[in-house]
Amino acid sequence: MRYAILLMGAPYSTQASHSALRFARAVVARGHRLECVFFYHDGVHNAARLAAPPQDEPHLVDGWIALHTEHGVSLQVCIAAALRRGLMDQREASRHGKAGYSVEAPFELVGLGQLVDLGLDCDRLVTFGP
């Protein structure tokens, strides 16, 4: 089956991100295809390249990147939700005249239309939120 995940919870604030990552691992372990994790609402904070959690806690950002590297899962971040929360890649940072950037590949900033297409194309879209 082709799955996608919609994640709307901020990392470390609620269980949503941890549960989503564990669910993602379970989906691929069962031999299903996980097309994409779409980050929306406070979930966009999962794409923060500067996240530095204590070493004895799971590193969620690295967890998403590993999922991409090992299984080709695309990591799509809603650009509007990201920008207003201070999350932007190098291109957006220069467009907005910002000194630094907070999002980098394999996370991609995309429009909400991607979420609509994903929800309709995949067999299952599973939402995790606070």
Binding site: H41, A80, L112, G113, L115, V116, G119, L120, G129
Partner: protein, 130 residues
């Protein structure tokens, strides 16, 4: 999944139901949910909105942008018609609970009970909850 509703005009297959369960102003849930309605409609999808729980408060007329200086959701709600989003439903029990009368509303949703809500959830290809 099959939809029982006819696809109107040149709209593409894949009906979307947005379940809106948060009041305006206190959080960005409502606004970010409505953004998907606009995007879905812009992509020629048939979009229906179901206002449940505190979400029915979004329909009260006479709201302004509010003390927090955030953009209110009223302009978006008023834009819905322009985008051909006219399938609006409001949870009847919530309207009673919050003493919201039809005369107080900006738009004219259809009041729905539990059975009709279950039908709505069943007959849409993509259901997103905010």
């Amino acid at each position: 999944m099959e939809s029982t509703e006819a696809i109107e005009g040149n709209q593409r297959e894949g009906d979307i139901l947005l379940v809106l369960r948060h009041a305006p102003h206190g959080s960005s849930w409502l606004r970010e949910g409505l953004d998907i309605a606009l995007v879905g409609a812009a992509f020629d999808r048939k979009v229906s909105l179901l206002f449940m729980g505190e979400g029915v408060l979004a329909l009260l007329s006479g709201q302004t942008s509010g003390a927090l200086g955030q953009k209110g959701t009223h302009p978006t709600l008023q834009m819905l018609e322009m985008y051909d989003v006219d399938a609006l439903y409001a949870e009847s029990a919530a309207m009673s609970r919050f003493a919201v009368a039809e005369a107080d509303l900006l738009l004219t949703p259809e009041r729905v009970g539990e059975t009709a809500i279950a039908d709505l959830l069943k007959h849409h290809d993509l259901v997103l909850t905010f």
